[in-house]
Symmetry: D2
């Protein structure tokens, strides 16, 4: 690809070439997951701590992920309170998984939307305990600002509710977060991406990365979709760097309307 | 790229590997245009007949386009009536340019939207005269149906008005055309694409190709944007073939919410 | 209501106080329809010629409509070609119903979208035969322009497909028609209105009237919805005349942010 | 109007007939404001405490509002922290204005969006101190839930940022709040309403009331717009009670397509 060689994603001092992070849930088989990860060229792979066999005594998801190639990002999926999320992060660290944590605190009301108050509380505790915290959050820039002030390593707002595949419901709000965070930490659009065009759009708005799970794992052909998403993230990033045209209310001819045959450009 | 080797675009019996068609207007220089065409990997390049030096006696746009590499598609940009468009197509053919024509009939009211009645009339005449006609048209599927019945070689509905970069204003209408045409001739989304995500979306809806001019030529870095658009078309096509997830009103966890630590997938 | 007394709708020389036209299909009973018409305060009531008992020998829809109070507008619902529509209009006139006709030419493809070519052809014939023609049309302003040039008495673009209740899918296109027609003949938004807010919005955009059928007849409480629609049309019209604020990308405080307690306005 | 006589809005035990609340900022003159209030038929009028001459020694906004007719709702506009908002509410109560308070806590970042954390903190304190608290809040249902649990008397989510007139940017989120609150306290859509159709739509979604300031005060004709907004709120409420048709993807004829002339309904 033609992206500049120094166009890297840096999170808490670590650099990555890929701007596509992927999840590991919902695949039909571990083998399918492994093949999709491979094709995606992702470097960061998020894993629900609840789903990992921490003692590794029997077959585990982790056996299918080459940890020399992928950076494992444990997440607190399934935690409904700050206390549960903190406990889960500690457990993962104690088991040697990582001191990075993708923080998710989601009440049980069926919307799968993150609870801003519990998320802030957990983030504060975890940062104080030395974790590198990557919080899944709403698209409210004032919540994002507080997460930033606490010392989180990324801001990860949703595009739309988890698993809906509805794309970016509020470009305004995402843009507000991107403008606010402005190069201090990466913004990663997490949740709701349903198609390659959604991933490209997130990047075009200036997001630093996207995280995708369901849209790949539940596509009709997950491995082919992993490939499509890889291309889409590259396309969106390239488009962002190339500087898109402004949207205009008024039509503009691409060929001069006053031109005559034989006239130059 | 990993698209199947037999995933080709066929128009009037000719096959193409690329699903990105590009225009030649609005570049700062011919050299910039040439470089953008190169990076885009487009095979079909559309040229306003009015802008071509048909007698080739002095420097012309065509000198900058390698005709062994690109297929030149003359267009009737600047024509406001069926009669003008027919005359322009004949002129291009007589000058040896091509018997293919991208038909554009656009009144002078500033909206740059195609006139369905004049377009139908011109299409009918041109098909009868043996032209391969690729008409720029509205997103009205009933107009598309008539163009199809006349024997046009593609249907080229707009996404939004020319040069506005507003993307696909009506996915419903485009889908209706795509469903209607259903593999009889290619559908090419023409006009209004502003960013890579728009190009990807058009392909995801099932369009067979897209045509882009302003969004590349007027980007801050046209050559880089040509690259982004190439990737976006590939991403969108791959996504279409991979089968995206359905959009859902209800959130769906990507990790099982009932799982316990240690549990398998 | 406080609308200016001279705020009247004029079509082909006839004036009306109400800007809400209503249809007569889909009610559970004729009695319910009669009550809804009454509450709506509509003056123009459209009736499918196919559904009218033209010889009046047995119970007919028309027996339930007080023709001294309502102006009956026959429509050509169910006609798929210009020829059928012309024949139906002639039949209605011959039976003494009216020389006004709401022209609908809709192919049988299930979309219920008007065919622009057949509509133009029928409109031309009917205007030449002395009919007052109110054509149901797409939201394509170039088709609207031709209908205007033919001599139609109104332009009646759709908001969204008939019966879908999806409101105004393209405010841009409606505005383009409204700007074009600009006081020459009334613009009536017909089809797709699902809720009072849709009716208000159509009026705010500058439409001269709206025509509603399904959204009233199939509401849970049709008579109450007729009342709601009446209010909504008044609200939208009043809002249009009062001149709404511009939409702004930037927030603007409604209370001065620099003010001190005790400071004046 | 024909709304049922018992269709009343009840907040903290007080009942109101009108579901339109209005603000008092941004009018050209106090006289214009008074006339607009009159025409709006609002009963609840919100006033920035900062703008009120609390000692009443000189001419004040309050001199123009008939307090036997209107219920004055002091607001904390201009407060950027919980502490400031609490202080302002106490000041208003001490001055005899009211123990009701419309709580607004808005940071100085120019977006005019409410800070969820400061708002929650201020709400908690004020409820504990015996205030009737009506908080302006985001459209995040999890924040709304906490405000409800604290004991707030209403939930007042925004439609779009204050003064933008962009209407209801997220119907999904508003609906989620309305479903959650479900008759426990009223939901009042506050901020962003730009036109009568926006007000009607808020009511159709099931909001119990709307609060409007800029869209009336800065309309070209504020008094006429107050009238339009009154009608729109009535229309939307009536439409909500009447039960709108479902939106459908598929077109549905309003006249039977199989009918023959003469056939009954």
């Amino acid at each position: 690809m033609n992206l500049p060689a120094d166009d890297q994603l840096t999170i808490a001092g670590r650099t990555f070439r890929s701007r596509l992070m992927v999840g590991t849930g919902k695949y039909d088989t571990f083998e399918q997951m492994r093949a999709a990860l491979d094709v995606s060229e992702a470097e960061i792979v998020t894993v629900a701590v609840r789903r990992v066999n921490l003692d590794q005594t029997e077959e585990s998801l982790l056996n299918y992920i080459d940890r020399t190639r992928y950076f494992i990002l444990p997440n607190t999926a399934g935690c409904q309170t700050a206390a549960e999320a903190v406990r889960t992060a500690r457990l993962a660290r104690a088991a040697g998984l990582s001191n990075w944590v993708k923080l998710e605190v989601i009440p049980s009301d069926g919307t799968l939307l993150p609870d801003p108050i519990e998320t802030l509380e957990a983030a504060k505790t975890l940062v104080e305990e030395g974790f590198i915290v990557l919080p899944y959050t709403t698209d409210d820039h004032l919540v994002a600002k507080r997460l930033l002030d606490i010392g989180c390593a990324t801001i990860m707002p949703y595009g739309s509710p988890i698993g809906t595949g509805r794309g970016l419901l509020s470009q305004d709000r995402l843009r507000r977060i991107i403008d606010l965070v402005a190069g201090r930490v990466p913004v990663v659009v997490d949740a709701g991406i349903g198609a390659p065009s959604d991933a490209a759009l997130a990047m075009e708005l200036g997001a630093d990365a996207v995280l995708i799970n369901t849209a790949i794992a539940r596509a009709k052909q997950p491995i082919d979709m992993a490939h499509a998403m890889k291309l889409a993230v590259l396309a969106g990033r390239a488009g962002y760097l190339a500087g898109r045209i402004e949207k205009s209310d008024n039509a503009q001819p691409s060929s001069p309307t006053t031109g005559l045959i034989g006239q130059r450009i």
